[in-house]
């Protein structure tokens, strides 16, 4: 498969980018791992479920309809079920290496002159005693079950952690008939208010969710945290406690909330594996881009959550700007993105920075993590083992990983990396994952034979 521009990721950023580039005469191939376009934000119910009103579960459904119809009208070639494991630089441009799902055994390649990375973000969850019990799900996971499978994860849920995702998840669960026993947010209401001006764009949205929570009588516990999940084979309840202003649990405030589901999340992290494999520079934990959304590798653009967590509206604006720029460079013309997109990006980036500053896990969350708490689930490494490694002379996340195997398993540290860094007392660093997903050795070996023949 050949294209002028290959866009990786069919969420808001990738869709907006594909439409903008295609509208400017570029031959675009849009690649995504899911069976449908839309990404996590516009996750579609499986066709076989025959959902009558999928929009009931969605926010900004009209924007999605516009994107979907635009995609149909333009000559964008959409490749779903393509799991990209690496993007390779070639003399003529780039080769995108994918595996065809769901088995992910057969390879597929897309060759293009330019690449646009819209790989999104992933949720991060910090450990606490009991967090590995069945019944504990990620906040995004609970949302995906609702949107994609039209299934409620339980009957009585607690939604906990920190970040703007918790509100829609609690509201969505309540609307689906789940009794939401509490929304437990570690950030205090005062901190959010202090960032009010920059958040102006986000507040109406937040206010809408708050009204829905009120309607469903969902108690909101601000500056609280879950200190333990209880249950033998599955979740039966959680202990929540209030936090003091320094972010420590206030003794004596613990109380038990019975529930069969805990949806927990501590924010999002950018997916940067493909960008790092290409050698793109990072800005903190996100892909660094210029005003046109170009990375520092010629021919590679990036947009959306991979360039910094900011939500769907920002991803749409960035995707549009990136798509215009890529098309212009391929055509040798001036980019000329919609002025509204540039304005929206400026405004939304400001509110994203404010949200990022406002929402934070409790400063002393590691104090609640007992030595027997599993931190890395893939390799079953406990917090005690991580602490032993620190005692052995590990001063950073990488050395802890080497000494304990934390982060060496199937998920390659996506789940535990921030937790290990926190326990080690250092800020999370970008971790290089040259394979964005596992790849069969047979696929690599066959490519070697082809290389030798050519």
């Amino acid at each position: 498969m050949r294209a002028e521009l290959v866009v990786i990721g069919a969420g808001p950023a990738g869709l907006a980018a594909s439409l903008a580039a295609a509208a400017r005469g570029t031959r675009v191939v849009l690649v995504d791992a899911a069976t449908e376009t839309g990404g996590q934000f516009y996750r579609q119910p499986a066709a076989a479920l025959g959902a009558g009103r999928p929009e009931a579960l969605h926010h900004r459904w009209r924007t999605w309809e516009r994107l979907r119809d635009g995609l149909a009208a333009r000559s964008v070639r959409v490749l779903t079920d393509h799991h990209v494991w690496c993007v390779e630089r070639t003399p003529g441009g780039f080769t995108v290496h994918a595996l065809l799902g769901p088995e992910q055994e057969e390879p597929a390649e897309v060759h293009a002159r330019a690449v646009l990375l819209a790989t999104g973000g992933y949720e991060h969850v910090l450990p606490f005693p009991g967090w590995t019990l069945p019944g504990v799900v990620t906040a995004g996971g609970a949302q995906a079950m609702l949107k994609g499978a039209l299934v409620a994860p339980g009957r009585r849920a607690v939604v906990a952690g920190t970040g703007p995702l918790l509100l829609p998840v609690a509201a969505g669960l309540a609307a689906a008939g789940v009794e939401v026993a509490a929304l437990v947010e570690s950030t205090g209401p005062g901190r959010l208010a202090r960032h009010g001006r920059a958040l102006a764009g986000k507040l109406p949205e937040g206010a809408g969710y708050a009204a829905r929570l009120l309607r469903h009588r969902v108690p909101v516990l601000a500056r609280h945290t879950v200190v333990r999940a209880h249950g033998d084979d599955r979740l039966t309840g959680v202990t929540v406690a209030a936090l003091d202003t320094a972010g420590r649990v206030r003794p004596g405030t613990e109380r038990h909330l019975p529930c069969d589901t805990l949806a927990v999340g501590h924010g999002m992290l950018p997916h940067t594996d493909l960008a790092e494999g290409l050698g793109c520079g990072l800005d903190g934990l996100a892909v660094a881009v210029d005003a046109e959304q170009r990375t520092d590798v010629p021919g590679v653009w990036a947009a959306g959550e991979s360039t910094g967590i900011g939500g769907a509206a920002l991803a749409l604006a960035e995707g549009h700007i990136a798509g215009c720029s890529a098309a212009a460079h391929l055509r040798g013309t001036a980019p000329g993105p919609a002025p509204a997109a540039l304005k929206a990006r400026t405004k939304l980036r400001r509110s994203a920075a404010a949200l990022d500053a406002a929402y934070a896990p409790p400063a002393h969350w590691t104090e609640q993590v007992t030595d027997d708490t599993v931190v890395c689930r893939c390799e079953e490494v406990t917090a005690g083992a991580v602490r032993d490694a620190l005692d052995l002379g590990a001063g950073d996340e990488r050395t802890v990983k080497l000494l304990t195997r934390a982060g060496m398993g199937w998920c390659q540290g996506r789940m535990c990396q921030a937790a290990v860094a926190g326990l080690a007392g250092c800020p999370p660093t970008p971790s290089r994952r040259p394979f964005a997903r596992p790849v069969p050795l047979g696929v690599l070996a066959r490519q070697h034979t082809q290389e030798e023949l050519s």
Partner: protein, 384 residues
């Protein structure tokens, strides 16, 4: 925090070689300090596979060092460190695909036997007894029971702990202190001086820079290697298995990519496949051609691996000297300075012997091996 310390010997480098130097120096009664600009095992040690190999060495000083080191590793394991460092006396199996390769392998094995290596010929029909999943149709092989394995980062950390040496991580060596006679009297670091009559350069790929900061030249160069790591599997590969052309690669001076993978299982489950060898400076960027060649080599040896997934790969830089032998011992150009670096891809395996030889040099004892082939000043001075 700036502080001034005094001790008998200061070791630069908290990798496995520095850890072994510290262990044997401390056991010889020396008050030892270990300094590293990063954490424990932060350099090549952290990217190593943990090969303790005698099988891949031709008769000569490096093989003698490997045999000494193998004995010392086994001794440390018996003393109780074995579990902590994941020591496994699993043995190596070198196979040959053709009659010609097998003849070369058997010639090498004969020479190794004369030097004290256990090398047992394995006819093709006996290969499945040792490795049931090996590809059919191989010409034969040689079994090396002395080949073993440790987990490199754990080895460095636990050797350091066992040494009771003072460990100062996150502290960079900036120069050496010298006495009025010009002899080395200690170490300058970015966080204070350390006074000691002896300084050991165990800085791995950074060893050339440490030597330069001490005022002498040592031409340590990096050689890049990738290792592929699979998803965890139930144990199916019992030995360190590799094809016979590996031996030729180690001694080769060619700068082109040469790949002949060592394939082995690990106690944790993943299979390790490595490593490629190429001269590419300190470039860490991914080389898909190198990884494809590793995968091709591994699946040729073990066809079942074609359906197994690689979950990650990592890159490391082997520190090598032009004649592929390490620099071990006192530097006559700078009295008080000793070197223990340049072990290329064999540093984990050669660490214990190196540590023992350094401790003997520090205490004025007769070394177990002749140090002449390892002399740090054996290379012509680089033209300025």
């Amino acid at each position: 925090m700036i502080e001034s310390l005094t001790c008998d010997v200061v070791v630069v480098g908290a990798g496995v070689v520095g850890a072994a130097c510290a262990l044997y120096a401390a056991r010889a009664g020396l008050d030892t300090v270990v300094v590293d600009r990063g954490p424990v095992a932060g350099g090549t040690t952290g990217a190593g596979e943990g090969n303790l190999l005698v099988s891949d060495k031709e008769p000569g000083p490096e093989l003698d060092l490997a045999l000494l080191s193998a004995r010392l590793w086994a001794e440390l394991a018996r003393e109780g460190l074995g579990k902590a460092v994941e020591y496994e006396a699993k043995g190596g199996l070198v196979v040959a695909g053709t009659g010609e390769a097998l003849a070369g392998l058997e010639r090498l094995a004969a020479g190794q036997r004369a030097a004290g290596v256990e090398a047992v010929p394995v006819p093709p029909d006996r290969l499945p007894d040792l490795e049931p999943c090996l590809a059919p149709g191989l010409a034969g092989g040689v079994h090396y029971p002395q080949d073993a394995q440790v987990m490199p980062a754990l080895a460095a950390a636990h050797l350091l702990r066992a040494s009771n040496a003072r460990l100062l991580t996150g502290r960079e060596m900036t120069g050496v202190l010298r006495g009025p006679d010009g002899a080395v009297r200690g170490l300058r670091t970015d966080r204070g001086d350390i006074h000691a009559p002896a300084v050991v350069n165990a800085a791995g790929t950074w060893g050339g820079e440490v030597a330069a900061r001490a005022g002498v030249s040592l031409p340590v160069l990096p050689r890049r290697g990738f290792v592929l790591v699979t998803e965890p599997l139930p144990p199916r590969i019992r030995h360190k298995v590799y094809a016979a052309d590996y031996v030729a690669d180690v001694a080769s001076d060619s700068a082109a990519l040469q790949t002949s993978p060592v394939v082995e299982g690990t106690p944790a489950g993943p299979v390790l496949i490595g490593a490629s060898r190429e001269r590419a400076g300190f470039d860490r960027s991914l080389s898909l051609p190198a990884l494809r060649a590793l995968a091709a080599g591994a699946t040729r040896l073990f066809p079942f691996l074609a359906g197994v997934r690689a979950v990650r790969t990592y890159v490391g830089f082997r520190p090598y000297l032009p004649d592929h032998l390490p620099a071990i011992g006192p530097d006559p150009r700078a009295p008080g300075l000793l070197h223990a670096c340049g072990h290329e891809g064999a540093g984990i395996g050669l660490a214990t012997g190196t540590g023992r030889l350094i401790a003997q040099a520090l205490t004025g004892r007769t070394p177990d091996l002749d140090l002449v082939p390892f002399r740090p000043d054996r290379f012509p001075e680089e033209a300025e």
